[in-house]
Amino acid sequence: MEQRLANTWRMTVNEKKFIESALVSGLRVDGRNLYDYRKLSINFGKEDGSAEVHLGQTRVMGIATSQLVQPYRDRPNEGTLSIFTEFSPMADPSFEPGRPGEFAVELGRVIDRGLRESRAVDTESLCVLAGKLVWAIRIDLHILDNGGNLVDAANVAALAALSTFRRPECSLGGENGQEVIVHPPEAREPLPLIIHHLPIAVTFAFFSDESTLVVDPTHQEEAVMAGRMTATLNTNGDICAIQKAGGEGVPQSVIMHCLRIAATKAADITVKIRDTVEAYNTERALQKIKRHSAPVALDVSGTVPNVRKNQVKSEDQREVSGSVGTQVEKLKPMNERKNSDQSNDIEGKVVTKSLEQGGTNSKDGNPRSFIGGPSS
């Protein structure tokens, strides 16, 4: 730890010896096997792109947001992805408020290397106007509780946030197509990001006894360990990043062994993330269907002015096209019928359309036949 303050938690010699001797016999203090992960659960928030991950006692929250910015000069048609970490002081007594310390920066950069440099997120699809405007995705990782192995939990939080994030759809408009119009989510459905693969970080802890290594160390095991290594890889078998800084020297064979274990763990975690994201997406889609049937009550008052507007419009059109008053007469009874039928959203829309087009009777008959709304 870089700042050894008076209130830093320190482990007693007894506890250290206990953990070490238990590991020599292949036992871990919380009863897990050497290569087992703790229970991983992912919960999503109300907003798209916010996820909270619980890995045993460790809690990390990831939030993804987007903004339109100018691209970097050497990459004019690619969007950007940046990761910011916040080690909240409530997570651990040694975390200080204010600027991120060394470990916060290291965690951010390890996840950044795994996500950005492995091109997990497609940045070319984030380009809006080449050289002028691109989407910048920002992921904020908040550490809420430090129960050990923050890197893995934060990585899962970042992936979960990215998988459920939706960016607003925007289109080009204006005189020469240089103006960008960002559509609000009510007008046009926001789009998900294109994610090619999920890089999963797996952390190993090495102990002074050479042959002992564990996966997913807890806070106590981290205080006892002699060295650590984080391997970020995906299910395609690509190794995206490896971070082993200092600590105990480890032979090459052990590193290769760790990478093999990490491959199996990454597969499990990927399946878990994909399942939870899918469940969230289906729930989101279900919620949207409910949302459309709700504004039936609103349109009851809404169709009346619409009808009048269209009536005026259609009358104008008639005059412009030089049609005879008989057609207008035909339209009027249609309108009266419609006023009494103010039930369904869909019905209202189709009928107004048909008015504008000077629709025939057959079109008018159709909406009645497919009344699907609840209050007709």
Binding site: Q3, R4, L5, A6, E102, F103, V105, E106, G108, R109, G227, A245, G246, G247, E248, G249
Partner: protein, 168 residues
């Protein structure tokens, strides 16, 4: 763009497994306890070691071992365009952390309790592989300062381009 020609030569005429020219010099900073300049091709870094000396911040003192601190910074003029913020940005913080952890593992800190060893590394010319050059320079500077170490720590960077591993 072809980085390795069909004859197997890279842009600067090296083979894929060939490193750049290495040059080193120690005792370059008179005031420091130990110092070294390390060059790998066009990458040039200078390292200075102060220590073991008294811990400046008493609260950080370790009673059973020496405290190792490291600071990595790039000179403004080291890269092609003048750099805005040479220290304190996230990359420098991470590299400082990595170098510190590496050297801490090889220094026999148990022999110097309640003391502090400072390693300052400055990149003068950046042409790739600055991290490795810094670790090599730090090893030399520590040796020049007479600080007990387990062994030399050496470092080299490698890349992977178009299914060809490239060294240095």
């Amino acid at each position: 763009m072809e980085y390795v020609s069909p004859e197997g030569l890279r842009i600067d005429g090296r083979r894929p497994m060939e490193m750049r020219k290495l040059q080193a010099e120690i005792g370059v900073v008179a005031k420091a306890d130990g110092s070294a300049v390390f060059e790998m091709g066009n990458t040039k870094v200078i390292a200075a070691v102060y220590g073991p000396r008294e811990v400046q911040n008493r609260s950080q003192q370790l009673n059973d071992q020496a405290l190792v601190r490291c600071e990595y910074s790039m000179a403004n003029f080291s890269t092609g365009d003048r750099m805005r913020k040479p220290k304190g940005d996230r990359r420098s913080t991470e590299i400082s952390l990595v170098i510190r952890q590496t050297m801490e593992a090889c220094i026999l800190t148990q022999l110097m309790p309640r003391s502090q060893i400072d390693i300052y590394v400055q990149v003068l010319q950046a042409d790739g592989g600055t991290r490795s050059a810094c670790i090599n320079a730090a090893t030399l500077a520590l040796a020049d300062a007479g600080i007990p170490m387990r062994d030399f720590v050496t470092s080299c960077s490698a890349g992977y381009l178009n299914s060809t591993p490239l060294l240095g």
